[in-house]
Amino acid sequence: MSTIAIPNETLPRTGIAATLPAPAPLADADRKPLTKKETAADHPTWCPGCGDFSVLALYYKLIEKRKMLHENICTVAGIGCSSRFPYFVQAHGAHFIHGRALAFASGVSLSRPDLHVFVFGGDGDAFSIGGNHFTHTARKNIKLTYVVMDNFVYGLTKKQTSPTSPIGFKSKTDVGGSTDRPVNPMKQAISAGATFVGRATATNLPHLLKLMEAAMDHDGFSFIECLSECIEFFPGAFDAAIPRKGGTFTEIPAEHDVTDEYAAYKLCDAPWPGVFGTFYKVDRATKNANEAKLITDSRAKLAGVPDWQILQRNFDRMK
């Protein structure tokens, strides 16, 4: 059989600067927590006053507080203002296509359980173009954390109606006011089978940090809707949830049973601006764990058998 000879070789790595010193052989345990200076990358391109800055600042803080190592963090995003996130973080990152960040991140999470996989995005990315992936990533309970910075408007394309825009919202695509019923992200997530569902605002930082930590610690698909104001195209959208602007920030009462799906649904219908905290949290086997079990079971009888011999057995049956 003639095929072109691209041998089974270890390919040389490229793009590596030879002039820099090799990395210090420091044990991971001896490495200091990363400071904001070390985790910050490009200066964010967001408008001054954008709610997304808070989420980014808390992500740096989370990395520092939980002593995550640069190389083990993977930040993934789709398309939108908030999806510029990976450029602003010094960690392995991917800026994928519109709406498909969860599918991409699932590929990372499933094949690399050693990484912390975080996905950031906006409401259009999550609930419109990526709606199908949102549903199925939740259903499959893929281990990753998804923070949706929900601003109720398309910002990057300059003010069109988004899937979470309230009825009556005037945009360039609904000059007379939006008439389509908005998505309720909490309900959507719970009904899809998400195992961690939380809601926060970009203005209550301690609360958001606490929720992000809980989400990260959750073994499964953890989803946070973070109300994050678009100062340019929907200013004041979330004032009703900001005490210093006369609003009220109502936390979910401590007695709420986070494993009670019906109770969680009821919280989703709380009058605007709704309630904040963990709506729903249950333990259910992740896709990662299910696949790992499938692998363990499949390999039970193959211990020590090299890959080529496993394949050879199949080929022998086809002789």
Binding site: M1, T3, I4, I6, N8, L11, R13, G15, I16, T19, L20, P21, P23, A24, E38, D42, H70, E71, N72, C74, R84, P86, Y87, Q90, A91, H92, G93, A94, H95, F96, I97, R100, A103, F104, S106, G107, V108, L110, S111, R112, D114, N132, H133, T135, H136, K287, E291, I295, D297, S298, R299, D307, W308, Q309, I310, L311, Q312, N314, F315, K319
Partner: protein, 600 residues
């Protein structure tokens, strides 16, 4: 059937002729298990070190519908499934009516006399042999009133007719039905023995294949889809994602079943877009991953494919072509995805396209695709098609110990890394996987935005120009490494028949046929579709006409898809094409007749 010698003696009803090859067409309905008969014959041929090639059509209806399986077994080189059948086995009147014309004049039609009434005017043209297959099957398995198993009964008849190796066939039947309820194996063997022991009335001779030359290596028998899937595993791929669509599904089913044995996994996703996105995520995570599809599924994947071009992320996409556009003809053969494979998507998004020519080539092409993807950090599309996917061939068992690869990611820390380094040697950069520590503290972003060398967004026209050149030039580098294909036949002549993908066999057979008729015809098979290997123009120069034979439409400007690509590449008006879209593989005679008519 090529008769060599006949050991006939007058009035001997058991005359046996030695033959070198035979084409057997089995026609029935899709639930009759006729693929199983064909499969047994193909695997028997493989075990007997004979060449074998099959061809099948399946209805795209949910249950039932006419279906055929054609198997060509030969003691010499078998290049196609054959234009005409030597033997037609048909179960119903409709199978008889639709396929009798595929039989060679004087060929044998073996029919189920319980269901088929031969046509008067055909009796003199073909040798008719009627056997009450349905009722005899019921009898053979003890009169349960069901004729399930008539395919195996018919296999017994064929085994008798061709003096096939009964112990080997029995073993195959036991392997196929073993492991289930023991009564199933017993029933199958009863059917087989019933058919084999039946005294066929009206059959004046039987046939025996001449011994094939020993090739040395034992043969394996599988379909193109199986060969692609196993090739992907041999290449070291351990992650993939897909969405079911005919005829690609079989590959994902196999990978889903097999990969866990190797510590890998294959994910069935919610849609085609998620499938390619997840596979690209798997590649980004450090190890080239695979996805695939057919027909409309490929259209859906093009946006993410563009990302892989832009982000320079390796990924292998298998396209098992079928009749299009839209839902088209899902279970028919067509080669009409060449354009989308090479050019599908917005913007300039170079990618590699390879088209395997046979079942064996599917196995090796899969490995090659993975390695090109790794080496050039690029998406690679494998263009298979419905015919190659479903046909069964025998080929020498690959040397798996030396072929199987480990492509585990390398996490060695690096000092600094530029994922899109414009000064990289050979112009090719490769990514470092997440988990790799970068001492400088500057981490890369893989991106679909135009970017600088570190992967950060840019609006610079200069960088866009440089990066476009980087993405394009690395494929020019690949082109310079590709082997120039060899001409089949003389290097000079009147007509050069050019083909790609699964047409290789029929085209080479057309060359043989043409030369046997005194025509100055040669053949050229192009496996590397994008980029094309360098130097094809030198091969074309030896011929007055270059005729590309492809199974797609001639398009607005009168040329098939590869012909259009070659014309735009070489600006050579000698390049013409013969095309067709009847959903079936080429007939050797058609290729020759049409190509000669075009060049007279």
């Amino acid at each position: 059937m090529s008769d060599n010698t006949s050991t006939a003696t007058p009035n001997d009803s058991s005359r046996t002729s030695a033959i070198t090859e035979s084409v057997i067409r089995i026609a029935g309905d899709s639930q009759d298990g006729i693929q199983a008969i064909g499969g047994f014959l193909a695997r028997l041929a493989g075990r007997s070190e004979q060449e074998v090639m099959t061809f099948m059509t399946i209805p795209s209806t949910i249950s039932g519908g006419p279906s055929i399986f054609q198997v060509r077994i030969g003691s010499g080189e078998v290049l196609s499934a054959g234009d005409e059948a030597d033997v037609l086995l048909c179960f119903y009147d409709h199978s008889y009516a639709n396929h009798i014309s595929s039989l060679k004049r004087g060929g044998i039609v073996l029919y189920d006399s319980d269901h088929v009434t031969p046509k008067e005017d055909m009796l003199s043209v073909y040798r008719h042999v009627g056997v009450a297959i349905s009722s005899l099957t019921v009898e053979a398995i003890g009169g349960t009133g069901r004729d399930k198993g008539k395919n195996i009964y018919a296999l017994g008849l064929i085994a008798k007719m061709f003096d096939l190796n009964v112990p080997k066939l029995t073993k195959l039947i036991e392997e196929r039905f073993g492991g289930k309820d023991p009564s199933i194996v017993a029933n199958a063997l009863n059917c087989f023995n019933g058919g084999y022991g039946h005294q066929i009335q009206g059959l004046i001779e039987s046939f025996r294949f001449e011994h094939a030359e020993k090739t040395g290596a034992p043969q394996v028998v599988m379909s193109g889809n199986e060969a692609l899937a196993y090739g992907i595993i041999a290449a070291g791929v351990r992650f993939g994602a897909g969405y079911p669509i005919t005829p690609w599904s079989e590959i994902m089913e196999l990978l889903r079943r097999e990969l866990p044995k190797y510590g890998g996994m294959f994910v069935q996703t919610e849609d085609e877009i998620a499938a390619i996105s997840m596979a690209i995520g798997g590649s980004y995570a450090g190890r080239v991953s695979v996805t695939g599809s057919s027909g409309p599924g490929i259209s859906l994947k093009t946006e993410a494919l563009g990302w892989a071009s832009m982000a320079e992320m390796p990924v292998v996409v298998i396209d098992v072509q079928r009749g299009g556009p839209s839902t088209g003809m899902p279970t028919n053969q067509e080669q009409s995805d060449l354009n989308i494979a090479c050019f599908g998507g917005h913007g300039d998004s170079p990618r590699v396209v390879l088209a395997p020519s046979s079942v064996e080539d599917c196995f090796y092409t899969a490995i090659e695709a993975v390695n090109i993807a790794r080496k050039f950090s690029t998406p690679v599309i494998i263009l298979s098609d419905q015919a190659i996917a479903t046909r069964i061939e025998a080929f020498p068992c690959p040397d798996l110990q030396n072929i199987c690869q480990d492509i585990s990611p390398d996490f060695t820390p690096v000092a600094d890394h530029k994922p899109y380094d414009l000064t990289a040697a050979d112009g090719v950069t490769r990514h470092i996987a997440p988990g790799t520590r970068v001492a400088s503290g500057k981490y890369p972003v893989a991106t679909g935005l135009e970017h600088d060398e570190l992967g950060h967004p840019t609006g610079s026209g200069k960088l866009h120009t440089q990066m476009n050149a980087k993405r394009r030039n690395k494929l020019r580098k690949l082109a310079s490494e590709l082997p120039v294909p060899k001409i089949y036949g003389a290097t000079e002549g009147h007509v050069l028949l050019v083909g790609w993908g699964s047409s290789k066999g029929p085209i080479e057979e057309a060359v043989k046929l043409g030369r046997s008729q005194g025509e100055a015809v040669s053949g050229l098979h192009i496996k590397y579709i994008n980029p094309l290997p360098n130097g094809l123009e030198n091969l074309f120069n030896g011929f007055t006409h270059v005729v590309v034979c492809e199974i797609n439409d001639e398009g607005l400007y009168g040329h098939g898809q590869l012909a259009s690509l070659l014309r735009s590449r070489y600006c050579d008006p000698r390049i013409k094409s013969v095309t067709k879209t009847d959903g079936l593989p080429w007939k050797v005679k058609d290729i020759l007749t049409r190509a000669l008519a075009l060049t007279k």
